[in-house]
Structures are given as C-alpha cells and as structure tokens.
C-alpha cells in the first residue's frame, strides 16, 4: 500500500511533537526519582560505566606521563590523599565513610580495588573529575605537577599495608591517644593544624617530601601572607588551598609564629656540584644584568621585606619546581608572584638549577656552617 507523502510527513511531525510533549510532562511531573538510594537499572549502569570509561580513555590519549617512581612525589601525594581522598575512597586501615558509600555511584575503594586505569587516565580523572559522579575536579587547573604527585601515590597504594600508609600519609606523625573527655568534647581544628607538620615537618624534622617547602625560620609575615593567598585562591595550589581554608585568621598568625621561631634543620648531606653552587652564588649576588635578571639577594636577603621568603636551606626540588612552573607560564596570582614570575621566566634552565643548588646548599650562610 502506498501512503501519500504529505500524510507520512504530517504523521512523523505529529508523533515528534507528541513525544516532546510527553517527555516534558514526564520531567515536569517529577515522577522520575533522582534518589541515590534507588540505584540504576543494570542496563543504565552498564551504559553509564561504558560511556564514562571510554570518555576517560579518549580524553587522556594525548597526555604524557612523567616518571612517577619518585619518593618525593609519592609522599606528597600520600599526604594529600589522606586529607582529600580517603574519606570517600578509603585507605589501608581506614574504611570508607558510610556516608560516602551511600553515594551513587559509590566511590571505589582504592585501597582494595584499584580500577585498571593507565597513569594518564588517572591523571585525567583527578584533574578534571567526572560529571554526574561525586568525583570533583582538581581545585586548581594550572597545577598538573600536584596531580601527578597523587597519581604517583596511587601507583604505590596497592602495595601498602596500614602501617606503611600511616608512615607515608602522616609523615611519621604520632597522634597521642586522647582522653575520653577530650575525644568527646574537643573541636576538630587540631586535625588541620596537624596537617602542616604532616608535609612541612615540625620541630627538628624537615618536610617529608622535598617538593614541600621548609617553613622553619621563615618570617611569620611571609607565612601569614601565603596562607591568606591560598585561602583567597590567589596562589595556585590544589593541595594548600583546602588546608588553608580549614584554618582561621587567628590560626594563621599562631602557626606562622610557631614556624618562624623554629631553627631550620640541616639539609641531608648530598653530593653537590660545587661549580653549580658557585655559579648560583654569582647569580644570587650579582644577577645577570645582560639578561635583565636582578640579584636574588636583593629581595631574598636578610634585610628584605618580611613578606618575601628567605631561601637559604630551602628544599632543592621545591625551588626547581616552583621556578619551572613560572617559567612554563603559571599565571602569577599574588602581589609577590607578580614580581617574581617575570624574573623566573627570564631564567635559563641552567640558571634555575644553579641558583636553586646555591640556596639549597645553605645560600649566604653556607660558608659559616660548612
């Protein structure tokens, strides 16, 4: 039987309109339940998972993973995993919170069941998060170096037992047993304060990861200004911003005074390239006027403003990372970064290595201490 073409077209149009209307009615009526408690049909779940996996794989195709077998990266990643991820994903010896487990989809327990992602795919997931799940994006999109630290840790995670995990994530910190009364009545800010030492060390201990700056002996004004810059998100760090936000303005001053009063612990003796240190000293003291690089000592010396950091004895990998971040174009967020970033961009890779080696070796005080 042959149907007249105008009739067929009219029928299709009417059917489409009816479908649109019914669909709108369905959404408007609220009959569909968005309850996380109800789960998905098996077919929906399969489809969503299939789409998500392929999306991650496709988007991660162009990413090159740096070498991740690096204990500084692993330790830094572990400390952040403890404060940022363990609540939902668990950790050796730390069960997932039942609250997190009741999400839809429930977050995978990474301690026992790490999905078989490639490094670059883990990186993409951590950096960008996943829509319609509770997986958040990295709070600061310019800090790929931090995301890689977490990937490095996730690679180590399956082989860790509870004690090894505690050592890595808590930086060897021992939380003294509290009395029943203090457990029952104390506020939880203590946890955030403890968070500083987990990465930055305290007392006579240097930071657990050399990618983390030594705060011992820095001016309190500098530490307060840094915490304020992290809180206001002017200074880019997905690791430090949440930590700083957990503190209040009064905490800033107190914790800054604490670190300012500490004596910087000696750096572990490492094989040093004395000629690099000498070149670094020249650059730090004289600058490189032809390349328009001012002397570092002008702003990082003892007489400089208290809001400028002191660099003597600072961790070498931390300084290298920070200078390279600027050189690769990290947009300056704070007032002091606005001054430093253009200078760092003018430094050559060799100058970065030299000057970092010089300050890491003790800087101007090296002659006296060695």
């Amino acid at each position: 039987m042959r149907i007249d073409p105008p009739v067929r077209i009219r029928f299709i149009l009417l059917a489409a309109l009816a479908a649109l209307f019914l669909g709108s009615l369905f959404v408007w009526s609220g009959v569909y339940s968005v309850a996380a408690s109800r789960g998905h049909f098996a077919v929906t779940e399969w489809l969503l998972t299939f789409g998500m996996r392929n999306s991650v794989k496709t988007h991660a195709l162009g990413i090159d993973a740096p070498p991740l077998d690096n204990s500084d990266l692993v330790t830094l990643g572990a400390a952040h995993f403890q404060s940022g991820c363990a609540y939902c994903h668990g950790a050796p010896g730390i069960p997932i919170s039942p609250i997190a487990q009741a999400m839809l989809p429930p977050p995978p327990d990474l301690a026992t069941n790490m999905p078989p992602w490639r490094d670059r795919e883990l990186f993409w997931i951590i950096k960008h998060g996943i829509k319609y799940t509770a997986m958040p994006a990295w709070p600061v999109q310019q800090r790929d170096d931090e995301v890689w630290a977490l990937v490095a840790f996730l690679r180590r995670l399956p082989s860790l037992d509870a004690a090894q995990y505690r050592d890595l994530a808590l930086g060897g910190l021992r939380v003294p047993p509290q009395s029943g009364e203090s457990l029952a009545t104390s506020e939880t800010t203590a946890r955030a304060i403890g968070a500083c030492a987990r990465c930055h060390g305290a007392g006579g201990a240097r930071p657990a990861s050399s990618l983390v700056p030594v705060l011992h002996g820095q001016r309190a004004e500098f530490i307060v200004a840094s915490l304020e810059a992290f809180t206001s998100a002017q200074r880019a760090s997905g690791i430090m911003q949440p930590v700083a936000r957990a503190l209040t303005g009064d905490d800033f001053r107190r914790v800054a005074d604490y670190y300012a009063a500490l004596q910087a612990p000696h750096a572990p003796e490492e094989p040093t390239d004395t000629s690099a240190i000498e070149r670094g000293r020249d650059l730090a003291e004289q600058g490189d006027p032809d390349a328009r690089i001012p002397a570092c000592a002008g702003c990082h010396g003892e007489d400089a403003l208290k809001t400028y950091p002191r660099l003597a004895g600072q961790n070498l990998p931390y300084m290298l990372n920070r200078l390279r971040l600027w050189k690769r174009g990290l947009a300056p967020g704070t007032a002091t970064e606005t001054i430093m970033a253009p200078i760092a961009r003018e430094l050559s890779e060799r100058q970065i290595e030299d000057v970092a080696a010089y300050y890491a070796s003790g800087g101007p005080s090296a002659g006296a201490s060695r």
């Binding site: 600058g287 006027p289 032809d290 328009r292 690089i293 001012p294 002397a295 000592a297 002008g298 702003c299 007489d303 400089a304 403003l305 809001t307 400028y308 007032a335 002091t336 606005t338 001054i339 430093m340 970033a341 253009p342 200078i343």
Partner: protein, 308 residues
C-alpha cells in the same frame, strides 16, 4: 624656553637645517622633473607633429633619459654629501654623551673625567656641538630628535655616532624610530637645551650624590625602597641601591616624567606606575609592585619625589 618641538619642518640646529635644506632642494628639483615629465607626455600626445618627431629621436632619449638623470643625481649626491658633512664627524671640542637604547628606555652617560649616569632625559648646552655615541643593549632602536637632526639606528654590538647642535634653548622631543617591541610607541625622551652656565651648574648637581631623605616619611620610603628590592634594578647614587637593570633614579624627581616620558611627573602618576605600570605602559620590564599598604606606598612615593 619655547614649547616642545618635534618636527623636521622646524629645524633648530645646523644639522637639522642642512637636512631641511636638502629636503626642500630635493622637493623642488623633484617637482621640476615631474613638471617636465608631464609636459613631455602632453607634447607627445597632443603636440605638433614636428615636436613629436623631435621627442621620438634617439638623441633626445639619450639626452633626457640618460644624460639628464645621471647629471642631476650626481649633482644631488654631491650636494647632499656636502650639506650633511657635519652630521657624523667627531670634533675634539664637542661634548660627548653616550646613549644606550634598551627595551624601553634610554641610558644616558655624560662623558667626563668621571662619567655621570642618568636616564631618559638628555640635557645639552645651547650652541655647542654634541657628539652622541649610540648603542643598543638588546634589539635595534633608533635615535631621532627631528628638530635637531637626522635619525640613526642603535644597533646591538655596534656603535653609531651622531652630532647635534641646538641653536636655541628649548625642549626638543626625541623618539625611538625603529620598532623595538611592545611599548615602542612609549619610548620617547626629552632633550633639553639650556644656556651654557645653567648647563654647567646642572651637570655639577647631577654629578653629586643624592641628598639624604629629610622627613620621617621619606626615610621610611627609602627603607622600603631598599627592602622591597627596588635597588636590585635601580641605582640611587649614595645609597645601597646600585642596580643596573633599570633606569638610574638618582635625581629622579628633577626629571619631568614617570615611566620614561609616558606620564608627567606627579606623585599620583608615580603611585599609579608602581602599582599599575603594566596598564600604563603595557609590556614594560618593571613588574607591578602591589605589595605595599597605602601608608607604605605614600612613603615610597614621597621618597622618590624627594630625589631632586
């Protein structure tokens, strides 16, 4: 003093005068040649048959097409060489000033038993030839004071020379005349010609150290200037600030501008340039310093404004 001058049509020195004379001679001669060509074309199309026949002869073509241009260009070249003979020579009695073009400012060194470093404003005595030694620190710049003389490139790794003489006192505007990057258009300077005795007195003052800040506020400003690292790039003679990367700020407040002739010198403009220099002169090499409280900023500005 007259107004600020920047025009090749208003020469105020013998060198600029020679160039202007030459330019007018070229213009007049060019007009004459253009008139001849138009007349010849008209005659070739509309002229009497006899004239057209003369124009078409081989001899006419050799005479007007070869001999005349060769003779005219030779005369003009000789005339030009003779007129501009004093543009680049060095004379012993001439004053010497070295100017180095840098992105995007001018380093000025007055020659003498002890060279005197300054920047962004050049002063010369009236009536005396001044030999400029011109250098470039980074890219090619070009030194041009249109009312006083020709322009000449400043080339990295080479030294070029230029002689200028101002015939009367005044402020002459100079300009970098070779594109040298972002804020090239804001790379100008003032050349101030003053009577000899005033110039001598001024130079003597310039050579002296900076007087120490007098008020509390200025002293606070000086401490901030040193602690904030300003002295790492800028020099103020007589203090610890000895940077060579940016303009020398000794006697800064006796110069008339902020940001290398970008804004007139006022406390408000100076304050803006320190905080917001990348908006005022986009791309300039000085990072913005937004680290000071308003009291600190006021102290710093009053210190800089005291550098008379």
């Amino acid at each position: 003093m007259n107004g600020i001058l920047q025009s090749v049509l208003a020469p105020h020195g013998p060198q600029a005068g020679q160039i202007a004379t030459l330019a007018w001679a070229l213009f007049a001669f060019g007009s004459l040649v253009l008139g001849l060509v138009i007349a010849a074309i008209w005659l070739a199309m509309r002229g009497a048959p006899r004239i057209r026949e003369v124009l078409a002869r081989e001899r006419t073509i050799i005479l007007l097409g070869l001999a005349l241009p060769v003779a005219a260009l030779t005369i003009l070249l000789a005339c030009g060489a003779w007129l501009t003979r004093a543009q680049t020579g060095h004379a012993d009695e001439a004053l010497r000033i070295e100017v180095t073009g840098q992105q995007w400012w001018w380093r000025v060194v007055y020659d003498g038993p002890a060279p005197i470093v300054s920047s962004n404003e050049i002063r010369i005595p009236v009536g005396q030839p001044v030999d400029f030694t011109l250098k470039a620190a980074d890219v090619i710049h070009s030194f041009w004071v249109p009312s006083l003389g020709g322009k000449i490139d400043m080339i990295p790794g080479r030294t070029t020379r230029l002689r200028l003489t101002a015939e009367r006192a005044g402020v002459y505007r100079g300009q970098c005349a070779e594109y040298c990057g972002g804020p090239h258009a804001l790379m100008s300077f003032k050349l101030i010609a003053m009577p000899r005795h005033e110039y001598d007195a001024w130079l003597e003052r310039l050579a002296g150290p900076q007087s120490a800040p007098s008020t509390d506020n200025e002293q606070r400003g000086q401490l901030l200037f040193l602690a904030a690292g300003c002295g790492t790039c800028h020099a103020v003679r007589g203090t610890d600030a000895a940077g060579k990367i940016g303009p020398d700020l000794t006697h800064f407040a006796s110069r008339g501008s902020v940001g290398i002739d970008t804004l007139p010198l006022t406390a408000e403009n100076l304050d803006r340039f320190i905080r917001d220099g990348q908006h005022i002169k986009p791309g300039n090499r000085m990072p913005e310093f937004r680290i000071f409280s308003s009291a600190e900023q006021t102290a710093l500005v009053s210190y800089l404004m005291s550098l008379q």
